[in-house]
Symmetry: none
Subunit: 195 residues, 4 copies
């Protein structure tokens, strides 16, 4: 669920409508006119907030990214062993994507939309900085096996995406979901950690 501070009601409605429609019909399958209709605004209103449709898409990405990051910052333990903090990151990342499926799915779509590559590569990396910091820490402290950093990062990320895809298809009750995520984390730990 999107909810943010200095964003006008109309703007919010536009972002929400965009998210819903992009996820359902894709970027190109969603005319700006439909977004406006879904948002309950006039067509032109979109363009008072965003110069172009691509700008809207990019802004939505930024928006979602921030939601995600805010959620992680709020939930991940600031203290504890590396393993504990890693577990938190893993757990809450998967949890957030399950609780915000549209947002997560949109993110994936975005990263595969070729013509937006340039504007965002930097943005994508930044988005992952929370994760990457702790992988680096684990690597530096020899908690992780001596593998290339990027390999570790990619494998860990993929793991989360895999869990999201798995869990978002079946419909497990919360407690079981929790258990499965933790099971996956243990798997990841066995995969990457020393001993």
């Amino acid at each position: 669920m999107i909810a943010h501070s200095n964003i006008s009601e109309k703007n919010e409605a536009i972002l929400q409508a965009s998210l819903r429609l992009f996820v359902e019909y894709g970027f190109h399958g969603t005319p700006t006119s439909k977004i406006a209709a879904e948002a309950g605004t006039a067509h032109g209103t979109i363009f008072t907030y965003y110069k172009t449709k691509d700008d809207l898409i990019a802004a939505l990405y930024e928006y979602v990214k921030n939601e995600f990051r805010d959620f992680l910052v709020k939930n991940v333990r600031g203290e504890g062993t590396i393993k504990e903090r890693l577990r938190d990151i893993f757990f809450y990342s998967v949890q957030w994507s399950l609780d915000n499926r549209k947002e997560f799915y949109f993110t994936q779509q975005f990263q595969y939309s070729t013509h937006l590559k340039k504007a965002s590569t930097e943005s994508i990396v930044k988005e992952k900085s929370l994760h990457r910091a702790i992988y680096q820490e684990a690597l530096d402290n020899k908690v992780f096996r001596p593998l290339p950093f990027e390999m570790i990062a990619e494998l860990a990320m993929s793991q989360m995406i895999g869990m999201f895809q798995f869990l978002s298809e079946g419909n497990y009750p919360p407690s079981e979901t929790k258990a499965l995520i933790d099971e996956a984390f243990k798997g990841m730990w066995r995969m990457l950690a020393v001993v």
Copy 2:
């Protein structure tokens, strides 16, 4: 490199051009007219082979999928322990995607192109049947931990995609690439296998 049996030269040129352009500009960023130009045919010719652009995309997907499957069938040991055969699947899957980056990237794009969902879900599952058969075997024989089958499948697949992404960015020499893939396989094994 695409090369197949009963496909006319023009058709082949069209598929090749499509692949190149789709990967570079995305489906919607690639007009059929440009495909024709790149393929060295008249615009209309595309539509003597494919009723619609979406048909072309679907056919290309089918085409690539078959290439991949043929490659696996040719290379994966038919005999050996489950672990050996799993390793082969893992290894050659990653290897193929590295040797056919455009093809693999196209596949990923395709799976995130929402408006093509219906036509293909079934197709995608079928594509993965080779992998899934052996995961099932490993699960049935208690070689894998007792986790939901789909979870295992997703985690294993994600691992390969993660390795592709990692390796396709750095530029490692063949021998090192080979070593890294095997390292990743060992990680996956620790993650999923019993003991």
Copy 3:
């Protein structure tokens, strides 16, 4: 430089901004929003002064026309021979257009903007009444050759426009400019006058 009596500061700013932008980008190339920005007012403010953009354009035309007329009335000798007064009209008309290039250019643009035809034909004729009066006088007194009045009027006007165009491209010092205008007037006199 525009400067007039009962016109509010905002209104004046709007007219000035319009003039500048219309001359540079044309009527259709100048959005009212840009005019407002250039004038330092809110977009809506324009419409408290002018019901429509076309009204603004027409008002600006009227405004400029009056500037020109005032200038002529102030400078043209009220007495003297027909030739002397004609020379003044010719001279000061060209001079004004050189000293007020934007204004003059705007006038020309206006007269070729087809969709404003109706509103202004009458206005344009009125604008030229000072000139026309003296051509009529010259014709009535047989100072001019016996040609159709409209022909004389058009030829004389064209002459001034031609001189403006010529002088506004080169950059002659004032004294030379003056001499060239007088030379042109002599030419016009030879063209139109008896003997």
Copy 4:
């Protein structure tokens, strides 16, 4: 009447329709959709011939310019005194503009459409080269008074435009029209020529 060699029927219809509508409603007052309707083609057809509306406008200008030039070349005496040839240029220029009022009016509109300036300045000069060549000759041979070349050019051109404007309003029979143009030419001669 436009009529040219290697121009397809549809293209011709588009140019004709454009000319008619531009002259009546102006560039911005004429939607491309109306042009298509008037030309009896589909809307999209315009864009198979011209990449943009501005391209169409520029092409139309080029087209009309060529018509004019062809007409002059066909009619102006190649031999004779400077005066005779000047008279021809003057006479046939005015005559053509009267016989092709839409074309001529379009030309004038075009030259005042600010945002097309860049594309065409060069083109406009070229258009006038036939005239300019003979003015230069007259100046070099001291047939004209020793005035700046550009001044002569502008004054002569203005004269023709003035005559067009005058004649296109009244409705004189051909013989009288002819006489009046010649009268105007004599005036111009008195204005510019030595003695």
